[in-house]
């Protein structure tokens, strides 16, 4: 029991099928009657769709049907609305939301926007037909740069949305902040790019839609990260009852936020399945994915920090332009507004803060949450401006951080952004991380690098972020006579290991056999509600739902145990899977109690066979604050600008760690994505034509095994949060918050003698090389 308890690095149950190639991902689903769909996408960034001639395509071999934007419009379906939590401009009027239909109807507004869907017996036949569809486009000027799009004279993307502006936003105390700046001894300012990136899970998106005419209902098997919310959205679009769609996700090959989004293809697929009377599979190509998966980040900010003469932070002011692409996507407008405002200032004590931003439209694929969704942006901003303040004003960068971290005794504290920072010991975590990095040996490592003609740099970044995602979660536990237990949850693991970690919580709490816990997730028939994945909520909300349900089972089991032992429930003690009557010392195991729960004759009044089965809903009242410190040492080749991260250290405060092996995995994966953003990833659209230049893995660089440093990880578990019974703080996105600033600042540290003070992400070799040669002038 101990082996499978909370806190143990239990090996994963789901691994057996993944390791043997017997998992079922959406493209593995087969059916004799399966037809195949291909999406015809706009090749233009901005163009009027004058006409679509499908006559030749329709008579191609194997073609079963073609749906165009015009056909879709004739059905009068709804558009997909945004669910952004920030929905109003500063003046209180609603944000500008253009109608996001599943197809481009009169105009295409980004390369990759769906224009038609072709269904045929085979995928090749659908592709053949797609090629002969004649779309008459009239190209329009496009704008893909987030600063250019709000300039006077920029192409108008939406006729009735002036200046390509979605909304403006502010948070914090402008007056107090302006005063802090006015009174400050020092003010430093920095313009920062947070580069547009894309999640690139190794599995592309796809779905299989089936329609049953007898029951007028649908089954949608979808590589999604949120079956319940998306089902509701798709049902609204199609104007059908939500419960007429059975939405399930099979095994999903990663998502990182990009598979949370409400996409246009699934509703079209559902419609087509009904119209054509065939189950239909659609799988996105990787190249299509670059065009049509939601992108992330894409912000330009001016960050200012006010300090007193001793380096104490007095105020933080951030102004951001956030590029949300051609439409408001699922939560798109929230990321550069509320999402980036909440955690301004991070783990630092800053008495006055003001954040303002605009979310703007461009002729690009819209942005939606990508691992961190606003918090990596805020972390990057504070850590870069602090580093900039240190180098500009001559403060030691480590000391400057140290003296400004929120002290333990200042908590709980509500930041000027309204974030409830309840617990943590940021200075302690900072020191412990620093200790891991062997500062004493640094000078000799610098020398070693110099001998090879390389520069070496170091930096440490503190981060404080917050969780998010849907606050409610369902857990259902049912028992079998064979001693098995089935756990149904509305949360969604796409690699995070919940089959294991949630089974751990259940097994640990009830003392039952971990190996006999079956796990069901991502199925609208299995759970009445579900928050899916997102905002690092899976343990914080999902895990607590399991704990809550398990505790309810425990209570019932206690009553039954007492009955079986002829005792009082009050005299029952439970430990290590066994109930003990403290008075008589009689015992009965949980397994025995559960077995007895099926026999009517053994039950007390008021309990029926199967009474141990329990369903529970947990609601998170308030988000928690994962935090930590990341440190990096890098080597830079000044002749080529090549950067390699040599070593990396992290200590995270996620509260109590349920499964340290899984937590490590989340941190390292997040660090890798952060490293990718810092050094090599960037979605590039051609400014003139609006074409997507980085349209494949030939041009979009992902970190490989040899890109990664050795990472040393640790946890600070002495500040569990009181905000939820497990005390956990959400671990999944933290890596993305700490890595970009740690790495970028380390590179700048390496180049400080060269006089380089700033380089924008990604720090490609050429950019680094240029920065060095420019600084030399």
């Amino acid at each position: 029991m101990e082996k499978y308890g909370i806190g143990q690095p239990v090996r994963r149950k789901e691994d057996v099928r993944f390791l043997t190639g017997t998992g079922t991902y959406v493209d593995d689903i087969t059916d004799e009657a399966l037809a195949h769909a291909v999406v015809l996408r706009s090749p233009h960034a901005h163009a009027k769709i004058l006409s679509i001639d499908t006559s030749e395509a329709e008579s191609m071999p194997g073609v079963l049907g073609i749906i165009t934007g015009k056909d879709w419009a004739a059905e009068d379906f709804q558009f997909i609305p945004t669910k952004s939590a920030v929905a109003k401009k500063i003046d209180g009027t609603p944000l500008n939301q253009p109608p996001r239909h599943c197809f481009a109807i009169e105009r295409a507004r980004y390369v990759g926007e769906p224009v038609a869907m072709i269904v045929a017996e085979t995928r090749e036949q659908a592709q053949d037909a797609a090629e002969v569809i004649d779309v008459d486009y009239e190209e329009l000027p496009a704008v893909t740069d987030l600063r250019k799009t709000i300039e006077t004279g920029a192409p108008q993307i939406w006729d009735d949305i002036e200046g390509n502006l979605c909304l403006d936003f502010e948070l914090g105390d402008k007056e107090a902040t302006d005063k802090a700046f006015a009174d400050a001894d020092h003010v430093v300012s920095l313009d920062l790019v947070n580069n547009r990136v894309t999640a690139t899970p190794i599995e592309t998106r796809g779905a299989v839609a089936t329609y049953d005419a007898d029951t007028d209902s649908y089954k949608l098997q979808n590589a999604t990260q949120n079956v319940h919310a998306n089902r509701a959205t798709f049902a609204d679009v199609l104007k059908i009852p939500a419960d007429s769609i059975h939405h399930v996700a099979p095994d999903v090959g990663g998502g990182f936020g990009a598979k949370n989004s409400s996409y246009p293809e699934p509703p079209i697929l559902l419609y087509a399945a009904k119209k054509l009377g065939r189950p239909i599979k659609w799988i996105n190509d990787r190249n299509e994915g670059f065009q049509s998966d939601t992108h992330g980040r894409a912000q330009f900010s001016t960050v200012e920090l006010a300090l007193d003469k001793d380096g104490k932070f007095l105020g933080l002011r951030t102004k951001t332009i956030g590029d949300i692409g051609a439409y408001c996507w699922t939560i798109g407008p929230f990321t550069p507004t509320g999402g980036s405002a909440r955690t301004q200032g991070g783990a630092y004590f800053i008495p006055a803060m003001y954040y303002s931003s605009v979310a703007v439209f461009t002729n690009t694929m819209p942005t939606d949450p990508y691992r961190g969704a606003g918090r990596p942006e805020a972390s990057y901003q504070i850590e870069r401006i602090i580093q900039h303040a240190a180098t500009t004003l001559g403060f030691d960068p480590i000391e400057l951080r140290r003296k400004n971290l929120m002290p333990e005794d200042s908590l709980p504290r509500k930041t000027p952004m309204g974030l409830d920072v309840d617990c943590g010991n940021f200075p302690e975590v900072f020191e412990r991380t620093l200790k891991m990095t062997d500062r004493e040996g640094y000078a000799s490592r610098v020398e070693e690098s110099q001998k090879k003609g390389l520069r070496r740099g170091f930096s440490i970044a503190a981060y404080l972020e917050c969780t998010g995602g849907a606050p409610k979660e369902f857990a259902g536990i049912s028992f079998g006579k064979d001693g098995s237990a089935t756990l149904r949850v509305g949360s969604h693991s796409t690699g995070m290991g919940h089959e294991t970690s949630k089974a751990q919580i259940l097994a640990h709490t009830l003392g039952i056999n971990f190996d006999k816990v079956d796990f069901i997730q991502a199925d609208t028939k299995a759970t009445p509600i579900g928050g899916g994945h997102g905002g690092s909520r899976n343990l914080e909300v999902g895990g607590n739902a399991v704990l809550k349900a398990a505790k309810e089972v425990l209570e019932k089991a206690k009553v039954l145990a007492a009955h079986l032992l002829n005792s009082n429930a009050d005299d029952m003690n439970f430990a290590d899977g066994t109930f003990t009557d403290v008075k008589t010392e009689q015992t009965i195991s949980m397994d025995e109690v559960i077995a007895a729960s099926f026999e009517k004759g053994r039950l007390p009044e008021g309990m029926e066979p199967g009474c141990m089965d329990t369903e529970s809903i947990f609601e998170r009242e308030i988000i928690s604050c994962p935090n930590g410190s990341h440190a990096a040492e890098v080597e830079v080749d000044p002749e080529t600008g090549m950067v390699h991260v040599q070593h990396y250290w992290v200590i995270d405060d996620f509260g109590p760690i349920i499964n340290p092996m899984l937590a490590d995995g989340q941190v390292m994966g997040g660090v890798a994505q952060g490293l990718g953003q810092a050094l090599m990833e960037e979605i590039v659209y051609d400014e003139e034509s609006g074409q997507l230049v980085t349209g494949s893995l030939m041009d979009y660089a992902l970190p490989r095994a040899d890109s990664m440093p050795h990472m040393e990880l640790g946890y600070y578990e002495d500040a569990p949060t009181a905000k939820n019974p497990l005390g956990v703080k959400g671990a999944g996105e933290a890596g993305c918050c700490g890595a970009p600033p740690a790495i970028v600042n380390a590179v700048l540290d390496a180049l400080k003698e060269d006089g380089v003070t700033h380089i924008d992400m990604p720090l490609t070799p050429e950019k680094v090389w240029r920065a060095i040669s420019e600084a030399a002038k």
Partner: protein, 155 residues
């Protein structure tokens, strides 16, 4: 339509294919061996790696007809008699996988790497996995798994 005869995971197989059919497609569709995954269009991601005549090959960059007469091993052929291959055990032990999508190709590359290099170290593993992308793990656990698995394979 061409008919090819090959051995797949030790079993002789004869299948009618199109000339344009990719080995990955034939494995997945005709032979229902869906463990081999397709993750990209440009032969970069490595999710499709299988062994052809003992050597790792990207099955998405090989025509099925080219495998006529060959011996192919897929992920489904690694475990024997219900027992995991030492490399599979190592991946599980070291948490060298999360979503599992890159895992089959990663394992096939890892096994080939271990078979060909008696002297693997961290750097050699990282270079040897240049053709296998993972977005979940950050690779560190994969590297530990490969080193451990290689040791176990040597017995």
């Amino acid at each position: 339509m061409p008919v090819i005869s090959l051995t797949v995971n030790g079993n002789p197989v004869t299948v009618e294919v199109e000339a344009r059919s990719l080995l990955s497609g034939v494995l997945r569709s005709n032979l229902a061996l869906t463990g081999t995954h397709v993750g990209c269009d440009t032969s970069q991601c490595g999710a499709c790696v299988v062994h052809v005549d003992g050597k790792p090959v990207k099955s998405c960059a090989m025509l099925a007809v080219q495998a006529d007469g060959a011996s192919v091993t897929t992920i489904e052929g690694l475990a024997k008699n219900g027992k995991l291959h030492p490399m599979q055990e190592a991946f599980r032990e070291h948490h060298g996988l999360q979503c599992g999508f890159c895992t089959p190709g990663m394992l096939m590359s890892a096994v080939a790497l271990a078979e060909q290099n008696p002297d693997l170290d961290d750097a050699a593993v990282r270079k040897g996995l240049e053709g296998n992308l993972c977005r979940c793990t950050g690779y560190q656990n994969i590297v530990h798994a490969v080193l451990d698995g290689a040791k176990a394979m040597r017995g």
